[in-house]
């Protein structure tokens, strides 16, 4: 469908913000061209700045540096030819379904009669006829998002931006809505020239887009630009589909780096401090146990998501944690249990904790923290102090999240203890004198 006419051009877009003396970069030097006729997916782990990039393109957010061109013209403020379908629907709860669609038309100065006929027609098209006078709270999530789509279509956007539009829906409605959107798009019955969708689900991206832009975090940047050349409607069970998903997984999961790169440096030292993945430790043990039961202790990551019934973003965080702790190796979209991982999976609860503790102690961020704690008189530090120290390395909310992860892992490994009342972090007894 692509007619090669550039609709949006991003030139060296950087989005950073300062927190105290430090400058954090959410997106760095992104160059991107969206052409007419394209359905493009921005894909990446959470925190890679894909939603920020969508807002920059829609003009809701001004980039720190770089230029957004729309049809060759620099963008001033909100892009009048773009619209967004929100993850959280963003419907006005006090307006009826029809009023929610009409209000978008009203803001563009449409007279009442035209508004009414247009919105009824649009609601009809998304299958909501009969629900015009209902309030959003009376509808299911899927139906609410249909209202979101109808409202977005109402203003006849050239560029339709979708911000994880299906991730707050139940699986069945999400699947139905995906199909309907593809049908609308491919039938050419809407004046939309291009679609830009943010998602963290690899399968969803491959199912819908004809181009997938893969982003990575720390700082957010584009790491791959892949064309998906398959006719619509796509069949998930086809070999080609699965191979494509596999390829994207391989790009996103990357491969295990040599140890010193993988672990990063402690906070405060030059070089990159490793961001710990946000995982549930019991999920990690579940994954390792699952791998242990497989032949060769090896699995295709994409197929794992299917058999474990978890989302691709959760799975990627888990594989990242497994890699970081040395329990698994990732290469070419496959994950393989290491002997250590095997031992961990087969150990008792006590044994697991011990293995976990030895692995965690190797992480520079833990070494840094235990050294700091040991240096204090009572071997304890206030939560706030540690957060401040981490804030020099990470943006404030990320610093807080990292500290939560550290506490969680440290508690499981029985290295650290945390007193919520006094907001104090301290070393578990017996950890103080041990050399690192």
């Amino acid at each position: 469908m692509s007619t090669q006419e550039p609709l949006v051009e991003l030139k060296q877009i950087t989005q950073s913000y300062s927190s105290g003396p430090r400058l954090f970069t959410a997106i760095q030097d992104v160059d991107l061209v969206l052409r007419e006729g394209e359905f493009v997916c921005l894909l990446g782990p959470s925190g890679c700045g894909k939603s920020t990039l969508l807002r920059v393109i829609a003009g809701l957010q001004r980039p720190t540096s770089g230029q957004v061109l729309y049809r060759g013209q620099p963008l001033q403020g909100v892009n009048p030819h773009a619209t967004i379908v929100f993850q959280t629907f963003a419907l006005f709860p006090w307006l009826t379904v029809q009023e929610n669609v009409e209000v978008a038309l009203k803001a563009r100065g449409a007279p009442p009669k035209l508004r009414a006929t247009r919105s009824v027609d649009l609601l009809d098209r998304v299958g909501l006829d009969g629900f015009e006078t209902a309030y959003p709270r009376e509808l299911s999530g899927g139906m609410r998002q249909k209202v979101g789509f109808a409202r977005a279509m109402a203003v006849e956007p050239e560029l339709l931006c979708l911000d994880e539009p299906f991730s707050a829906l139940d699986p069945l409605s999400a699947e139905a809505l995906r199909g309907e959107l593809i049908e609308l798009w491919t039938s050419g019955s809407i004046p939309t020239k291009a679609v830009l969708m943010v998602t963290h689900s690899i399968e969803e991206a491959v199912f819908m887009a004809d181009r997938v832009i893969v982003m990575d975090k720390g700082p957010g940047r584009v790491v791959a630009d892949m064309a998906i050349d398959m006719p619509y409607p796509r069949q998930r069970k086809l070999n080609k589909f699965m191979q494509t998903v596999d390829r994207v997984y391989a790009t996103l999961a990357g491969r295990t780096d040599p140890e010193h790169v993988e672990l990063g440096v402690p906070p405060g030292e030059p070089g990159r401090t490793r961001v710990l993945p946000h995982i549930d430790i019991s999920d990690l043990t579940g994954l390792l146990e699952h791998l242990d039961e497989l032949q060769d202790n090896r699995a295709d990551i994409f197929r794992l998501a299917d058999s474990l019934k978890i989302g691709s973003d959760t799975l990627l965080s888990l594989t990242e944690a497994a890699e970081l702790l040395g329990f698994a190796l990732v290469a070419e979209g496959d994950i393989t249990l290491t002997p250590l991982g095997e031992t961990f999976a087969e150990a008792s609860i006590r044994g697991r904790k011990e293995i976990f503790a030895t692995r965690v102690r190797r992480l520079p961020i833990f070494r840094w923290l235990t050294a700091m704690l040991r240096a204090t008189e009572k071997q304890q530090l206030e939560w706030e102090v540690v957060k401040m120290a981490l804030s020099l390395e990470f943006p404030p909310d990320e610093a807080e999240r990292q500290l939560d992860i550290i506490i969680d892992w440290g508690r499981y490994a029985e290295i650290l203890a945390y007193d919520d009342d006094g907001e104090l972090l301290y070393l578990e007894p017996g950890q103080g004198e041990r050399p690192s």
Binding site: L60, V78, T83, F86, T88, A90, P93, G109, P112, R137
Partner: protein, 574 residues
Amino acid sequence: MSPSHLFKTEQPAQRVFSWQDIAVLAGLAALIYGLARIALGAPEVVEGPTISLQLRAIPFYATLSVLRMLTAYVLSLLFTLVYGRFAASSAWGERLLIPLLDVLQSVPILSFLPVVMLSLSAFLSENVAAELASVVLIFTSQVWNMTFAWYQSLKTTPADLREANAIFRFNGWMRFKTLELPFGSISLIWNSMMSWAGGWFFLIAAETFTVGQKDFSLPGLGSYLYTAAEMGDMRALFWGLAALVMIIVALDQFIWRPLLAWAERFKLQMVASDEPPTSWFYDFISSTRLSGWLNERVIGRGLERLDQAMLRRFPVKDKPPREDATLRRALGYLLGIVILALLAVLVVRAGRTLLAVPLSEWREIAVGLLATLLRVAVAMALALAWTIPVGVAIGSNPRLARWLQPLVQITASVPATALFPVILLFMATLPGGLNLAAILLMLLGTQWYLLFNIIAGASTIPQDLKYTTALLRIDRWAKWRTLILPALFSYIITGAITANGGAWNASIVAEHLSFGDKTIYLLGIGGLITKATADGNYPLLFAATFSMVLAVVLINRLLWRPLYRQAEEKYRLD
């Protein structure tokens, strides 16, 4: 065709008017007639500043008082919308306007009023000046909590809805109408109700102030009650109070309850709530044909026209080019400099006035602050002692709440100042009666904030925790200690902050008593302020007021704020 089309309820078309419509029309006619009677009856009864105690005069006085309250309320609403927007929409606004609001609300405006009054009467006729001053006083008792609530709601509008506003290119008016006003409406209505209660509290003071030898009394229900108490006319006092209670109940039933029932649609939550506020009057009105017609033809079309006009007049502007921004910034700086210069002049003058206050008077101020602090502390302790058990009983027992809550609400809405003269009549004879009366007035004025907060807190204690304590067979005291008090903590603190401010403010009304020509001043900062006013000792008035503001702000910052933070962090139930 879908079921909802088939079963769309259409009202029967043959009947033009239902009985409800006839009732509404009859009610309207009666209302117009009543107002006409009041207006016609006025000149005979009202002559000059003297207040007639005839019962026939009550409707007229009451109307005047309500009009004064209404004027002040409309001003408060306008101020709230404008000030709140400025504070919420710019960083400097937030840093400057919100602390300013915090200080302003601790200013006991009663003490400044005489000065305002005198300066106004210099160039306005005495009557107009008095009216203006009275409206200003009521305004200052209504406005602050509304402004805070509006600012809070502007700051907490959901980010996704704000983004939807931007992407669908809503202009300022559309944003206000479709997002900000609906989102803030419930809190604005609740705070309006509180503001009216606050206004009634100061009504008597607002209609009966004297400066030195000058009497600026205004005709109104407040001055009627005051005069009746002064004259010892129990019959007039009783009927005056009855009229006041009737007005309060009527406003509640015909304005606030219907508004709350109507505003239920603006709740943000996506599920229907269990017990939405109901109003028989709202149900009745919305069942009439007349309201449907009004809604569609008059309000609907009027709003549509207004929307169109606003959209044409104020189109969405994209980010202005750089030059404009610098020009605007320059203008902003200029404005800032002018304001700072004005402030500097005022500060220097204020400083000079403060320096003129002799040391002996500063000592009086210090002693007065301590005395009032003691009184406030006693009043707060008494209030806590009874509101916690009663509030928990009401809040955790729906059956009790059903009949007790309306009763409490009506009782709470009767302004303590109106009862005060009556209380004085009985208490003045007791030993230490004046002190007791002052504490009682503070208590009456502030206990309700606590009670309502505690009721609200007690009703949020989750049922599963109650079951757990029951299953664990925890004894009564341990249950209070482990469940009820921690759960209530943040609510108690919230109530106490408001109550504390109110008690200090009430000290100005509470710490002096007049019998005919004689006035007794109690030891205390409030008494000092009223005395300074009566003597025309403006430096002392200013110094005492300033000290009181400082004391209240300090108490808030040093005591309540830290407690509140702790409550938020440690004892949150979620």
